[in-house]
């Protein structure tokens, strides 16, 4: 393929709280970092994909792509605002790659940044957010906060496959270890966790304790999906896009007839088919982890662990620093931080930086890396396989 697509550049700003900055300010910081880290110019960019801005506020903006084109002073060949929750960025990259391969663009900026406002129970914002994450007619009236929606999958998965609270806690423990190796992780410098710490933290919605839940914060990230020629010009080791997979399950968790399956397996199967690789050829995985059950379900669905056995990967240390199958080398959303509207970019940036050999202290073997992102309440899925060799 003459226009073999790659992630040629990837950057993310430090997760945290930026009370003095608005979302556009965060976008500016992300773009500035991407430009500085990879020596590119706004005039190189001929495509922009972005999510709605301030989606969690009372003043959402739905033309982010126009705002950013104006900011950069460019008139792109292709550009739009799209949203599929946490899967947004995986899809951006998939469609940017298709556009690049078809010659419709040369360098597509896939970007997201955002605030994660603290919404108090009972506020108007909390109620309108609830109505968007579940069925406003048949789920909303029953008061299911986001953790309780994910919990429906978790409780059923535990029931059918023997996954334990200790297994889930071991995910949080391993990811806290990884976060100590990432200079920007929100829990960097915090004490390491034990399984007892997780199980002893207060219950949010069973089976999730406080430390089974990701940490809300604000951040932003971007990648540049480019043609082969562009990639080689700006980066000696781009992250080649070897395969992508998309699948959509059930938007409303109550309507999923099999709560142990959400569509992860289908998306991953498609990415493996396209890449020609098998799970045994993948060196490590970056997996969206709003809650500690998510990497367990994903590793088992994708084929990295037998059913009910992914917990052992974490408990034995194999998925942690020094292990033979690293998972979420940046600390995951559980310990790196969950950047609100931009959360789905964090594991992609990390996967790309690993393949590029730019992961610093936490660098692991990254010839082939699988990244899985999902959106909604495990409703929509996107798997990316990145590699060092095109």
């Amino acid at each position: 393929m003459s226009n073999r697509p790659a992630i040629a550049a990837a950057a993310e700003i430090k997760p945290g709280r930026y009370p003095e900055l608005g979302s556009l300010d965060l976008y500016r910081m992300v773009i500035a970092k991407l430009i500085a880290d990879f020596g590119i110019s706004p005039k190189d960019i001929d495509g922009i994909f972005a999510p709605p801005m301030d989606r969690r506020s009372t003043k959402p903006k739905f033309y982010t792509h126009e705002i950013l084109a104006n900011e950069l002073g460019i008139t792109p060949r292709l550009s739009f605002t799209l949203n599929a929750g946490g899967a947004t960025y995986g899809y951006m990259i998939q469609y940017a790659a298709l556009a690049v391969a078809a010659g419709k663009a040369d360098a597509v900026l896939c970007i997201g940044a955002g605030k994660f406002p603290k919404v108090g129970a009972g506020s108007e914002t909390a109620e309108s957010m609830m109505r968007t994450v579940c069925d406003a007619a048949f789920e909303f009236p029953y008061g299911p906060p986001i953790p309780a929606l994910y919990a429906q999958y978790a409780a059923r998965y535990m029931h059918e496959h023997g996954v334990t609270a200790e297994d889930m806690a071991s995910v949080a423990v391993a990811q806290r270890k990884w976060a100590q190796l990432h200079p920007d992780a929100i829990t960097r410098g915090k004490a390491e966790l034990t399984i007892a710490d997780v199980l002893g933290s207060r219950m949010i919605a069973s089976p999730f304790h406080y430390l089974d839940c990701s940490i809300p914060c604000e951040t932003g990230g971007a990648v540049l999906v480019t043609s082969e020629a562009f990639a080689k010009r700006i980066n000696k080791q781009p992250a080649w896009l070897l395969g992508t997979g998309e699948h959509h399950g059930y938007g409303y968790v109550s309507q999923n007839p099999d709560l142990t399956h959400s569509g992860i397996a289908e998306a991953a199967r498609e990415a493996f088919r396209e890449s020609g690789l098998t799970p045994s050829e993948i060196d490590h995985a970056q997996i969206y982890d709003a809650f500690s059950i998510c990497p367990i379900m994903a590793l088992e669905d994708i084929g990295f662990a037998p059913r009910g056995k992914a917990g052992a990967l974490f408990r034995s240390g194999r998925a942690g620093p020094g292990g033979d199958f690293p998972v979420n080398t940046y600390g995951g959303l559980l310990s790196y931080g969950h950047g609100g509207d931009a959360s789905g970019m964090s594991m992609i940036v990390e996967g790309a930086l690993q393949v590029m050999g730019r992961a610093g202290e936490r660098q692991v073997k990254a010839d082939n890396v699988l990244v899985h992102t999902y959106g909604g309440m495990l409703a929509e899925h996107c798997t990316l396989i990145l590699g060092r060799t095109a």
Binding site: A121, G122, A126, E127, M130, R131, D135, A136, A137, F138, E139, F140, P141, Y142, G143, P144, P145, P147, A148, A151, Q152, Y153, A155, R156, H159, R202, M203, I204, A205, S206, P207, V253, S254, Q255, P257, L259
Partner: protein, 138 residues
């Protein structure tokens, strides 16, 4: 205290909520393939026929597919005591509903338990189906 969270009601779903006011659980049933489905919608998700939306009273019996005890509610005063239970109930007729499991110790709730429909009055005359554990003598 009556809860204030109300469902979005559309012309297609109105019969469901009207029946709930009478404490009746009414389920959508396809007039073409005669299978139950949920939620009410224009296309049957089994045979994809449109415009054949019929209704039939459900038995009110079901079992718990999954559940969570909620300790941090999204709404103030949603429950008088915490935790409360959010569950997915599989009805005897096949469809699945989200509901709270009420009138019980929340720690009694488990996957596979049999439940029976009950109704909770909300503000503005709206009534929502809820479920209670089915006791041995029921």
């Amino acid at each position: 205290m009556q809860r204030t969270q109300l469902p979005d009601i559309t012309p297609i779903s109105a019969p469901y909520w009207d029946a709930a006011k009478q404490h009746e659980l009414l389920l959508p049933k396809c007039g073409a393939c005669e299978r139950f489905f949920f939620p009410p919608r224009a296309w049957c998700p089994h045979c994809y026929e449109a415009g054949q939306l019929g209704w039939e009273t459900a038995s009110g019996d079901g079992s718990i597919l999954s559940f969570s005890q909620v300790h941090v509610p999204p709404f103030e005063n949603y429950a008088e005591t915490l935790p409360y239970v959010v569950a997915i109930v599989k009805l005897a007729e096949g469809p699945q509903l989200m509901a709270n499991i009420i009138d019980c110790d929340p720690y009694e709730v488990a996957i596979g338990q049999n439940v029976r429909v009950t109704f909770e009055e909300r503000i503005e005359g709206v009534s929502v189906p809820q479920f209670a554990l089915k006791r041995a003598n029921q």
